[in-house]
Amino acid sequence: MSLTIRTGTIIGALALALSIGPALAVGDAEHPHEPHEGWSFTGIFGQYEQQSLQRGLLVYENVCASCHALEYVAFRNLAEPGGPGFTMDQVRAIAAGHQVLAGPDEDGNTVDEYGLPLTRDAIPADRFPLPYTNEQQARARNGGALPPDLSLMAKARLNGPSYIYSLLTGYEDAPDGYEMQGGMNYNPFFSGHQIAMVSPLYEGAVEYPDGTEATVEQMAYDVTNFLMWAAEPKLEARKRLGFQVMAFLVLLAGLLYWSYRKVWANIEH
């Protein structure tokens, strides 16, 4: 009897402990929701949709990159397995479309004759360049608000992907009588309901080369997938290895249990 009670208590404790996490809502923000098709990367066999990742990169570049950095992602990551699946030549072309800070020239200058920093074309080994030189410049150009780096956003928020998707599709008019601070925008999914970022997505904001219709939901879905990959590029490898490890451990558990029974066969216990 006591064994069962004890086991039940421990399991109950674990369940409670695990339920604490998701139950913590962030302040008064509305609970985020998934897109109607759900996320392809969740679950034991979760994977990224390569086409969506590629479209998401386009959304990031055209809509987000002017203000939001992606400092931990390198161009070469775009060609790595488990990601958008670009070829190295495509990656070189994507990289070359960006300028990164170049080191001092042979005269020791780090700026050109206009005082602008010297730059060079990016190569695959470079990371995505930052839109602003420093935090102060970012704030100055965004009404005092600091657009956060997006490399880890999908993991830096509770239910990260759903949060990003809900936020991007969730802009609406403030309820009647609600007092908005100057320059802020109403979004029920943001803690405090007032966000400095104007709704960044609108119908047709980007033109997808694969012909997919660029609705707000579609772009939000694609860029969220992209940002989830940016935060967890090793997700597919992790889940694949996980399956092998679990299967192996189950096998080993079976063998050990059989050995245990055999070893203890003649002992009263």
């Binding site: 421990i10 604490i20 803690s191 992790r238 203890w264």
Partner: protein, 437 residues
């Protein structure tokens, strides 16, 4: 308990070694031939599981340290470098992070086992206290380790916990500034925490050796709480408990692997994926789940102690909270002397048993309270609001009542159930206790 060594060196090398440094003999006597009670159940596999956890943490920790940069400007990025660029870096990092949680899960089960079967009672008091020392070292190690990624929770958790010292009158702030290496948590704090986080696991390893040594002097306790009376009560550790421990370990690893591969961030906090910012405090600062009960105790004391009907304050609430926190751990060390019963195992202690399960619920409840906002209202009756902090105080009181009142009193007034004459008897006649002849 000294047993005659049964080790027989059976090669020239073994004889040579045995005459100069008898390690093989020691290994044989301690982990192969060691007479172990034959009735140990699966709760007894957690000692081996804990040793495994320590080895995993050290192995993954050392390899992480090959890539980690312990400077405030580089730390966060170095962890991302590990996750993205280092071969299998993501696996090693997630194993180390989840491993910390698994380590505490195992240690709490191990401690509750010890409390249930009375493994802390004479002659095993020192064994229990060495275990408490290991637990304390684990908490220090885990706390410092969590600071290293230098995320928001790392930084602010370090700030809140080091600020605890400022509660001590007069010398508190100088101590805190000495600890932190400045006026606030910063780069000096990070670099010294890295040094100590690398050091302490090896101190833990040393205390674990003492812990196992102390265990081997007295011999293992067992679920009946009745001491071994002779060879009919025991079996050699190998192969019986090596195979059982291995099986228990693999089951544990299934849980461990499930988290590492399928929910690696479930036990962590999203805010730690935001780089530390001394200018922005997160809305809710919480430690990792295994420290939540202690966090709840710390925050539950919100009243000062003073002289009634005067304005004189003797001890402020902040210091009282710190004292309560310290006391909650000190009371563990005193457990062998707080429990007055001569009967070890709760199998035969019908009065204490329900209190023990309530105690477990109290600990879980404290963990829940530690995660929640103190002013969250649980229910209201008229103008009175019962908040989380009140629940925390109630549970803290219950925690201390268990140790300081229940254990001493129940031990004296309880009538234990009849116990078997010996382990062998208990095992032969099944779990139903046979009356002693």
């Amino acid at each position: 308990m000294s047993h005659e060594s049964t080790y027989q060196p059976n090669s020239g090398i073994e004889r040579w070694l045995d005459a100069r440094l008898p390690v093989m003999r020691l290994m044989h006597d301690s982990f192969s031939a060691f007479p172990t009670p034959k009735n140990l159940n699966y709760w007894y596999t957690f000692g081996g599981i804990l040793t495994f956890c320590l080895i995993v943490q050290i192995a993954t920790g050392i390899t992480l340290a090959m890539h980690y940069a312990s400077d405030a400007g580089l730390a966060f990025a170095s962890v991302e470098h590990i996750m993205r660029d280092v071969n299998f870096g993501w696996l090693i990092r997630y194993t180390h992070a989840v491993g910390g949680s698994m380590f505490f899960l195992a240690v709490y089960i191990h401690m509750f086992r010890g409390m249930y079967y009375g493994s802390y009672k004479a002659p095993r008091e020192l064994l229990w206290m060495l275990g408490c020392v290991i637990f304390l070292l684990m908490m220090a190690t885990a706390f410092m380790g969590y600071v290293l990624p230098w995320g928001q929770m790392s930084f602010w958790g370090a700030t809140v916990i080091t600020n605890i010292f400022t509660a001590i009158p007069v010398i508190g702030t100088p101590i805190q500034e000495w600890l932190v290496g400045g006026f606030a948590v910063g780069n000096p704090t990070l670099t010294r925490f890295f040094s100590l986080h690398y050091l302490l696991p090896f101190v833990i390893f040393g205390v674990v050796i003492l812990h196992i040594w102390a265990l081997h002097v007295t011999g293992n306790n067992n679920p009946t709480g009745i001491e071994v009376k002779g060879p009919q009560d025991t079996i050699p550790f190998n192969p019986y408990y090596t195979v059982k421990d291995a099986f228990g370990l693999v089951l544990f690893l299934l849980v461990f692997a499930a988290f590492v591969f399928y929910a690696p961030n479930a036990l962590g906090h999203p805010d730690n994926y935001i780089p530390a910012d001394p200018m922005v405090t997160p809305p809710h600062i919480v430690p990792e789940w295994y420290l939540l009960p202690y966090y709840a105790i710390l925050r539950s004391i919100t009243f000062d102690i003073g002289i009634p009907f005067t304005d004189i304050v003797l001890i402020r609430a902040k210091l009282l909270g710190v004292i309560a926190l310290a006391a909650s751990i000190v009371v563990l060390f005193l457990l062998p002397w707080l429990d007055t019963s001569k009967v070890k195992s709760l199998r035969y202690r019908p009065m204490l048993k329900p209190f023990f399960f309530l105690f477990i619920l109290v600990c879980i409840g404290l963990g829940w309270v530690g995660a929640e906002s103190p002013d969250k209202v649980l229910f209201a009756a008229g103008t009175f609001q019962f908040q989380m902090v009140h629940l925390g105080l109630t549970l803290t009181a219950a925690y201390f009542v268990y140790f300081l009142l229940v254990l001493p009193i129940v031990g004296v007034i309880e009538k234990p159930k009849p116990m078997p004459a010996s382990i062998a008897d208990a095992v032969l006649k099944g779990r139903a206790a046979a009356p002693a002849e």
